[in-house]
Amino acid sequence: MKEKQITPDFQVSLFTRMVLIRKFEEKIVALCRESYQLPGMQILANGQEAVATGVVSALEPEDIIVSNHRSHGHLLARGADLNSLMAEIMAKADGVNCGKAGTLHLSMPEINALMTSTVVGAGPPLAVGAAFAQQYQALNGVTVVFFGDGAAAEGSVHEAMNLSGIWKLPILFVCENNGWAGAQRPEEHSAVRQIHKRAQGYDMPGQSVDGNDVEAVYHLSLELLEYCRSGKGPAFMETLTYRMRGHGEQDHQHYVNPEELEAWALKCPIIRYRRALLNAGILDKAQIQSIEQDAEARVAAAVAFGDAGPYPESDTALTDVFVQAFNA
């Protein structure tokens, strides 16, 4: 069981995870800038590290994660191996999904990061299935599904909320409200401004939280996970945060008000937490520097690992379609 009382050690681990996610994705930005051959769209969660870290740190090992197109943070917080994750983003043979997935479709069932879908809104119905399996087999786990404020407009999300509400499935719906769906604002895609209010319509608890406050996210996650785990059914958490970069790295935010961006930069979850830990005397500047350097070194090693590896052999394109291959 996770502790409700946060210890200094645990605080340091929360901070360390957020720093690792930030450094990992900053490296992807740099690789894109150097026009390094990263295939596909690189979609990053800069500014949203506290959500991934707060939620995932509250999970038990048996809990399941279903993720979306903005998934790096979720996986890293879950303890994904950096080397094979970076190798997959580079679409190398040593990548976690053998170069078939790239950055957008990562799945790591070995760490219970069961599935990722880049089809917006597909996660929640997939989570219904995973949570049903947990309930059916009387497993103790909960399924956590991450999706965006934009995704909340897909009918599939509403169907999943309704069905899990009826069957009392152990799902924690985590809606990462980052202020944007592509170039569209929440007021353009949601009739209700507070998305968590929809939870009421499906008879589940729904709450919002400051998504840039890692401890607040952690505490609310624990509370809602406990509710789900106790057999009462699903719960809904809306994390209020901000997408600090473009939708993907090709998007240069021409439609974003720079003042809004600056205001959110001041609320950066990592800067805030660093300040809090410094003020509380839990970390000093030297320790923070060493955490950052350690993260940078791990990321650099992952890039080196990815670089060194080969691209997948072309004949592997034809494998993995079925468990038992046949000649079509």
């Binding site: 596909g40 170069g99 957008l104 995704a151 897909e154 009918g155 769906a181 394109a317």
Partner: protein
């Protein structure tokens, strides 16, 4: 006439239609304000020109977007809605397959659905199988839906204008890899009729049918074949439904051979329909087996070393032509 890109040509068609007819409006995810600041994107600048009444940014809600088109068209409007990537048409498919394609028939001809769906398609940019998946065969298989696929700048405008003013539902597929291709474009309103294929290159020995990007794959195969003394007649199909059987059969009766090329999976792909149609209607004119060039039966992988295996290349077309020529 002026030099325009393929993307400009689509934009020109939308703008022309909206200027001509107030019942035309556009809707979709980011058709007004887009993450792309790029004049080659089809809906670039339309929000500024026509305003929010006629250029509707929607939530990420493909079923509602398609439903909007079906309902509004039944009321007499001419909606032009966008599906951002071809695989997401699966989310809109109930509205299109079960409603747009069936409701007129089920009304005994009382209702009609003059709607257009623009679908962005293509492989080759490392986005993987949930963004790259050409599903034209699904649509063509569904009664009541038309589907066209321009390959040239001129047809990008001409087919879209025909689609918008056609009285029935038309899906217009746009190969995103062509958006930046340049060509001559007439400035006026002009139409490429639906259901008319085009002989892109006349020839005598083997008919090659392709559409969209695959047309250029077929074109690249011509030179190596000419070097071997083989003259191909290339047909740019343009319209899958309605299908220009006359053009196809005339060509096949002349050459006696047929190779079909598309980027979609070969298995149960649209090429199978063309092969079957020709086998049924021109069997006695055939001098060799009909050959299909298409992708293997796998989802589109991300790594470019794997994506290359997926995308049919000119060498595959050359091989297919040689096979049917028994060379």
């Amino acid at each position: 006439m002026s030099q325009k890109t393929f993307g400009n040509a689509i934009n020109d068609a939308l703008s022309t239609a909206m200027d001509m007819d107030d019942t035309v409006f556009i809707a979709g995810e980011g058709v007004g304000v887009s993450i792309h600041l790029d004049s080659n994107m089809p809906t670039y600048g339309l929000l500024d020109k026509f305003g929010r009444r006629r250029v509707k940014d929607t939530p990420v809600s493909e079923a509602a977007i398609a439903g909007l088109a079906v309902g509004a068209s039944c009321m007499g409007l001419r909606p032009v809605v966008e599906i951002m990537f071809f695989p997401f048409i699966t989310l809109a498919s109930d509205m299109l397959v079960n409603h747009a394609g069936k409701l007129r028939y089920m009304s005994g001809g009382k209702s009609s659905f003059p709607l257009t769906v623009r679908v962005k398609a293509g492989v080759g940019f490392g986005a993987g199988s949930q963004h790259s998946h050409n599903l034209e065969a699904w649509i063509a298989h569904s009664p009541g839906l038309k589907i066209v696929w321009p390959a040239t700048v001129e047809d990008a405008k001409g087919l879209l204008l025909s689609a918008i003013f056609d009285p029935d539902p038309v899906i217009v597929v746009e190969d995103m890899m062509l958006y930046r291709m340049k060509g001559e474009l007439p400035d006026r309103d002009f139409r490429t009729p639906l259901g008319k294929a085009r002989v892109a290159v006349p020839g005598t020995d083997c008919t090659v049918i392709a559409y969209g990007m695959a047309l250029y794959t077929a074109m690249k195969a011509l030179e190596p074949l000419i070097e071997k003394g083989i003259s191909c007649e290339v047909i740019d199909l343009r319209s899958l439904v309605p299908l220009d059987k006359t053009c196809i059969l005339e060509s096949v009766r002349k050459t006696g051979r047929l190779v079909v090329v598309h980027e979609a999976n070969r298995f149960c792909g649209f090429g199978a329909e063309l092969a079957a149609m020709v086998a049924e209607e021109a069997f006695h004119d055939l001098k060799g087996p009909v050959k299909r060039v298409g992708a293997p039966q796998i989802p589109v992988p991300v790594a470019s070393s794997l994506e290359k295996v997926f995308i049919p290349g000119p060498e595959d077309v050359v091989r297919a032509v040689l096979e049917t020529m028994n060379k």
